[in-house]
Amino acid sequence: MARVKFLCDADRCIECNACVTACKNEHEVPWGINRRRVVTINDGKPGERSVSMACMHCTDAPCAAVCPVSCFYTTADGVVLHSKDLCIGCGYCFYACPFGAPQYPKVGNFGSRGKMDKCTYCAGGPEADSTPAEYAKYGANRLAEGKLPICAEMCSTKSLLAGDGAIIAEIYKERVMKRGYGSGMWGWKTAYSDSPTG
């Protein structure tokens, strides 16, 4: 099976936040949680770039490695998902994640954070595919319907790419060759340990 990934071509991102909005709407993500966000580097300076970032679905995911109840699992496509039934809201995955992806519905002390929420690559959770129970906890399961994540599908400049990691990396490299520059595959080194195919 394909190893799916996200890739943000920052030289194309116009910081329109359509991906952020599409995600919130598709999954009815609760207030205060942004599964995806757009970060602008060198804001207002020459060479400023915006990067759309969510969970990168890492290889050997740090979140999964540190979760004390081991509630993460990786699908055959390489998507990192977790079970909200098992999560105890300890915050460890948030400490480990290099991309700040895990978030909590409550801003509480004493570990009263509630169940962790993060990007699912539009692939739902452990419940049966596309059921109301799955939707309520994790949002839509587009992958089960043969569709790609809504954020990348919505992207008007095709800056945000989703799909087979090898193919989107190839598309990006072709673009860089053609236009002569590229600011890099943001997060890939950190998420996939230098290997673009891992």
């Binding site: 910081e15 757009v38 602008t40 915050g91």
Partner: protein
Amino acid sequence: MPGSSSILRFANLKFAVFKPLLAALALLFVFAQPAAAQISFKPTAEAVQEDKLLNALKEGDKITGRVSIPDRTAANLIQPAGRDWRDFQRSKLPWIGGISILGMLAVLAIFLMVRGRIRVHQGFSGKTMLRFASFERFTHWLTASCFIILALSGLNVSFGRTLILPLFGPDAFATMSAWAKLAHNYLAFPFMLGLAIMFLIWIKDNIPGKLDWEWLKQGGGLLSDDKHPPAKRFNAGQKGIFWIVIIGGVLMSVSGWFLLFPYLPGNVTALQFWTVIHAVIAMLFIAAMLAHIYIGSIGMEGAFDAMGTGEVDLNWAKEHHAIWVKEQQAKGEAPSDGTARAVPAE
């Protein structure tokens, strides 16, 4: 109307004067613009490069930018230190915990086999004296019971998924861990209270002195039953335990406090740091307390009574705390030697 035409004429005149000037300006603009752009801005060379930013990062640093949503932490784009923390949790902590806790258990088992229980050399006298008053015992057990639950629930966070999850299955283990987490988070407070009271009531007897040096030089009498270096209320070994508890307890409380209120340190790198401190000190602390529990129970005859009933046998006290017994006898708070019952002769 004369007025309006004069205004018109004036405007015309003005335009006539400014026209060449404006044209010149516009020309300048047209020519200068691309030139200026070429000099000051090349998308190729000047765009931020992920590579460069990553390579320039210092340890624990992160690439940050600006976000348009209120959540400031969302502005952190890439923080590679998460992977180091993953490696600490997964590969280093099990070694640190394994060596200190299992190592200590092994040392104690060997000690028990080689040395056996430390006996009261003179035998029990049948006369007792008060060693710990009820409030002291209450404080000790408050702190100790909290410590045991904190240690077990903490170890469950560190190693439960490896050791207990396979036995319980995911659902039962997650339920148990959720309760353990609640216990850990709330029992931290009585623990800190007990720690503070212990510090206040016992500090005066735990200041290191010359006698402690002597005691340590003689190995604390651990190796023989009949030779015990003299000691006041607490010997050097007990003072050591006191300071391990105080310093360890304060480190656990400070680091635990930041984990309990994660919005205080405010950034992930600080939280990673405090969990490392909390976890490493926890392993060492637990190992030290195992030794303390051993010597206070099976390791030494007559020791448990001090914290059990509070009354210790006079002979036990004389062997381990000779000077303290004399002080208490002088104050009339301990029975005098060799009256009521005959002490078995050697």
